[in-house]
């Protein structure tokens, strides 16, 4: 306690010190909200919800007949999530404000424990998201390998059909949940304020909670397995949804929870980009990655509510016996299909646009050229985002609705390839007469462009109704969207990690291991998924556990490559652990010699991001111009003994206070002098 006062005495915010001292949360460290309490809250909430659900519906004939009580499961999951959020402290602030009390902020801690807490530092949230996304990815990746194990043989089985279907659904759903935040979560949260010259997010509390909501979504969808899995795959088609076992409740609640996190992360980022740009950071100067995040946030905020509504109706059907999706009682299975895909197709671009943003952000650095046709790139991403709301019925070409709508949706779907073509124009134009440095991130860029081309072109085949009659619902579709999501987004994500991890962690990743990761990833990715185009074309539907004998060779090539693909991720994990923890090599401040604003601040990035709010002078792509102006005026460091010169009042003083490692000086990093 005494140190608090000492810390505050050294604080440069004299006006707010008194307030901060008066209201600082003075409970012992372990008593304040953290992951442990969240787990306790989730467990308590789960049992409480089960108890309430049994009380309400335990005697209903439905629960008796089917030996399952969906009301209890839904209540258990919902109260579990609520308990989780209470435990992590996510509801403390809004609840206290509503009660008219001033919440006591916790003293900012710089210990590793802050990664297990609600935190308002966007860089900590970004790293939390990174770990969360990787855990999601690797869990679902193991499930993918289980699927490929089953498909090694056309007729002999490793799993029973029920287990297999549960694995397929779990894999698909987890991957979709992960991919919708894969870039926006870790890189979006971490980079956007640094790229636009801001010291903070617009809604740091919302941002902090959004990660813990995302983590709750992981736990909810994982409970589907002990609840018996769900038999519908990630698309959750009704009325199969209505008849499925309680694992389905985990799917519906889980998607709603993830959707909530997506909306929160989305509007926080949008508000930040719109309102918190540094002086001079005009719309024609913001980095192209920020454009891609802005386009994505529009989709996150506008498309995701549909998913939550659709899931809510499904929960009602399953619990209180409404019939939104049950045809013979006045509902329609098409209602789910339309609602789901109205979300589902923008979701696809939620997963594609940030990948292009990363690639276009990195290309100028490694080609030493300006980004070609910057405005076309931004227009392309906005065009894709807009059009993505008008294409969803191409998922229903064979479903038996609206035969006259087919040409229209064929047109809108094919039109999307025009703005997508813009993005290729930009990337290829940037390569023109470049001086390409084949660093690891650049390899991933080129790999992404290679893969996404195949994914995009096969998408045109799917948009063509006559061809779609053959390939719809087959492994062709499956290969197509793995090429765009995994070959596009995940390649870009790993490229981005190799590129920005030196900034995020201050450690340089090993280049040779990175190259080994890329080449194994690239080769085995293509060997895994390219044969599946042929498999689909030759007549193998998705999500089957038996297939024609003549397709075994192709399936086996895919399966064996899938195992090796999984192994290539181990190289990344090894590289990460080795380079960051075991044998760390300090990264240079600007290892790629980038002009990006995020590289102009110190490494590791101080909590306040920038000593002074930079004044942006140009876009960050002035490569190949010896006389180019600096990207920003970062202030005069000699005068920037922080606190002496006008600090940004938007930074809350209690964040500054009481850093245990540096008593009397809130700045954990020595001033740059």
């Amino acid at each position: 306690m005494a140190t608090d006062t000492a810390d505050l005495a050294g604080s440069p915010f004299p006006g707010e010190v008194a307030l901060a001292r008066a209201s600082l949360d003075r409970r012992p460290d372990w008593l304040r909200a953290h992951l442990g309490w969240a787990v306790v809250g989730a467990v308590v909430g789960w049992f409480f919800g089960r108890y309430v659900g049994d009380l309400i519906a335990g005697s209903w004939p439905v629960s008796q007949d089917t030996t399952m009580n969906n009301v209890a499961v839904v209540f258990g999951l919902s109260f579990g999530v609520l308990g989780w959020l209470v435990g992590i402290g996510g509801l403390t602030y809004p609840l206290l404000k509503m009660l008219g009390r001033e919440p006591a902020p916790a003293p900012a801690s710089r210990s590793w424990l802050r990664y297990f807490r609600l935190t308002e530092d966007h860089k900590v949230v970004g790293l939390q998201y990174l770990i969360g996304v990787l855990v999601f990815l690797f869990t679902a990746g193991l499930l993918a390998m289980a699927i490929r194990t089953e498909l090694l043989s056309p007729t002999s089985h490793v799993f029973g059909p029920g287990t297999y279907i549960a694995i397929v659904g779990e894999h698909g759903t987890m991957m979709m949940m992960m991919a919708s935040s894969a870039v926006v979560g870790p890189l979006g949260n971490w980079l956007v304020p640094l790229m636009i010259g801001s010291r903070r997010m617009a809604y740091p509390r919302v941002e902090a909670v959004s990660f813990w909501v995302f983590a709750a979504g992981y736990l909810v969808i994982m409970t589907a397995l002990p609840l018996g899995g769900f038999s519908t795959g990630w698309t959750g088609y009704a009325p199969l949804q209505t008849q499925a076992n309680p694992g389905m409740d985990a799917y519906l609640v889980g998607f709603a929870v993830i959707g909530l996190g997506m909306i929160m992360a989305g509007f926080n980022l949008a508000a930040t980009i719109i309102n918190y740009r540094a002086p001079g950071m005009t719309w024609s100067r913001i980095p192209i990655f920020v454009w891609s995040i802005l386009a994505t946030t529009a989709l996150l905020v506008l498309a995701t509510p549909t998913l939550i509504v659709a899931g809510y109706l499904g929960v009602l059907d399953r619990t209180v016996q409404t019939a939104f999706y049950v045809t013979e009682h006045g509902g329609s299975s098409f209602l789910w299909e339309n609602l789901f895909w109205f979300f589902g197709h923008p979701e696809v671009y939620i997963m594609a646009l940030p990948g292009f943003g990363i690639v276009m952000e990195m290309l100028p650095v490694f080609t030493r050229k300006p980004l070609f046709a910057y405005r076309v790139a931004a227009a392309g991403m906005i065009g894709v985002a807009l059009l993505s709301f008008f294409v969803w019925q191409h998922h229903l070409f064979q479903s038996g609705i609206n035969p006259d709508m087919r040409p229209l949706f064929m047109l809108t779907t094919e039109l999307i390839s025009i703005p997508t073509g813009f993005l290729y124009l930009v990337t290829l134009g940037t390569l023109w007469k470049a001086k390409i440095r084949f660093e690891v991130p650049m390899l991933f860029c080129l790999g992404m462009l290679f893969n996404f081309l195949i994914g995009g072109i096969t998408g045109v085949f799917l948009s063509d109704v006559p061809v779609d009659v053959t390939v719809h619902g087959s492994f062709f579709v499956m290969a197509h969207f793995h090429y765009t999501i995994m070959g596009g987004l995940i390649f870009a994500l790993f490229g981005g990690l190799y590129y920005w991890l030196p900034k995020m962690t201050g450690k340089q990743l090993n280049k040779r291991l990175g190259q080994a990761h890329f080449w194994t990833f690239f080769v085995f990715f293509n060997f895994t998924f390219f044969p599946l185009f042929l498999v689909g074309l030759l007549g193998q539907p998705r999500r089957v556990f038996e297939y024609a004998h003549n397709l075994q060779t192709l399936n086996d090539i895919s399966s064996i490559s899938a195992f090796l693909l999984g192994a290539s991720f181990l190289i990344f994990i090894f590289n990460f652990v080795w380079s960051v923890y075991i044998d760390p090599v300090q990264a240079p401040d600007n290892p790629w010699n980038s002009k990006g604003l995020e590289w102009q601040t110190a490494t590791p990035v101080p909590w306040f991001d920038f000593e002074r709010i930079p004044v942006v002078l140009s876009d960050p792509y002035h490569y190949g111009e010896p006389a180019a102006p600096p990207v920003a005026d970062m202030g005069i460091p000699a005068l920037a003994r922080i606190g002496a010169a006008s600090p940004d009042q938007s930074v809350r003083p209690h964040d500054v206070a009481s850093s245990p490692e540096s008593p009397g000086n809130f700045d954990p990093h020595p001033p740059i002098m």
Binding site: P239, E328, S333, Y374, D404, F461
Partner: protein, 349 residues
């Protein structure tokens, strides 16, 4: 990094180009060869692209094209194959263009070759003629594909896709054989309304006859995929989903469920066959006779049926009906279209 602040830190700046310290105009590569080399790069790529496209397209069309799924067993399969081939012919040059460009860039413009430093400035940031051409070409390509796809959709009676209860792309022939396809967890059954409405698990169709598959479901959403005939239509509970095709070769074909429908979805497949119209007529008549006793216990023929209480609603909606009675739960007459007259085989032609 002492001395300058983070904003002024540029790392090692761009290597200055051939001793040209003047801020204006932007540095250029050694004069003379500049524009000429640029032209050569472009033309080399274009030449390579034209050459490879000219080889790849015919090679694909004549060697692989005739074998592209779903084959040529019906007019809709023909259409799907032709469509796929045209799309691939359009796609191959696009893929080749990007690959050639990327390959050329990776080989020629790598830093280790120590070529001239890239030139920044406005001319590297945009090139309006190229941007304009790109947009015009991609738009033209997309509109062509749309027009072609729409023609191919309309012309062979909806391309074999399920068109719902009110189809708008119809076969030219007026003599259409209606076959009802009933999806249920986890098998297909077929009813032949023009042969007394008998129900069987054998799908037999005559060749050179327009066929209307009326696809419906008793429980969840299935998808009726007749692979070799190029037909795909969702089986929705309570909906009559019509898909047309006209087989033009004899042989057997695979029927698979193509929409995840639960536990045994992977095992929901069987085989059907295309026979001559004469063989079909005698098969249908004899089957009608053989099954006559069973057919009497079936619900009357309808385009859709009320799902089994064990089906979609999973016993959720307790009703007074014995869920295990096939007669009472499956087959209440539905409102909607008039039924075809359930005539006997002899009356047909």
């Amino acid at each position: 990094m002492p001395g300058d602040g983070p904003g002024l830190r540029e790392g090692s700046p761009e290597p200055a180009t051939t001793g040209d310290p003047a801020p204006m105009p932007p540095a250029r590569p050694p004069s003379g060869s500049g524009p000429a080399r640029e032209a050569r790069h472009g033309w080399r790529m274009v030449g390579l692209w034209v050459l490879l496209s000219a080889i790849a397209d015919p090679l694909f069309y004549y060697l692989a094209g005739p074998h592209i799924p779903p084959g040529t067993m019906s007019n809709t399969a023909d259409g799907a194959q032709f469509d796929f081939n045209i799309l691939l012919i359009a796609a191959l040059p696009v893929i080749l263009a990007v690959w050639i460009y990327m390959g050329y860039a990776v080989v020629n413009w790598r830093a280790s070759r120590n070529g001239p430093d890239p030139v920044g400035g406005p001319e590297a940031r945009s090139n309006l003629p190229i941007q304009f051409t790109w947009i015009v070409v991609t738009t033209a390509l997309v509109l062509f594909l749309f027009g072609f796809g729409t023609y191919e959709l309309v012309q062979p009676e909806g391309a074999g896709g399920g068109q719902g209860p009110a189809p708008i792309f119809m076969p030219a022939s007026h003599d259409v054989l209606a076959i009802q396809v009933i999806g249920q967890q986890w098998k297909w059954t077929y009813r032949y309304p023009t042969f007394g409405g008998f129900e069987t698990t054998d799908l037999v169709v005559p060749d050179h006859t327009a066929i209307a598959f009326h696809v419906t479901s008793l429980d969840v959403v299935h998808d009726f995929w007749v692979y070799q005939l190029g037909v795909k239509a969702d089986a929705n509970p309570g909906q009559d989903d019509v898909a047309y095709t006209t087989p033009d070769q004899l042989g057997s074909f695979v029927v698979r469920c193509d929409e995840l429908c639960g536990l045994w979805h992977g095992a929901m497949y069987d085989w059907g066959k295309v026979v001559t119209p004469t063989q079909f007529q005698s098969w249908a008549e004899s089957t009608e006779r053989q099954l006559a006793a069973n057919t009497r216990f079936l619900p009357p023929f309808a385009w859709t049926y009320t799902p089994d209480a064990n089906g979609a609603d999973g016993g959720y909606y307790p009703d007074s009906v014995d869920p295990y009675s096939p007669v009472l739960t499956y087959g209440a007459k539905q409102p909607g279209e008039p039924l075809p007259a359930t005539t006997t085989g002899k009356d047909r032609k």
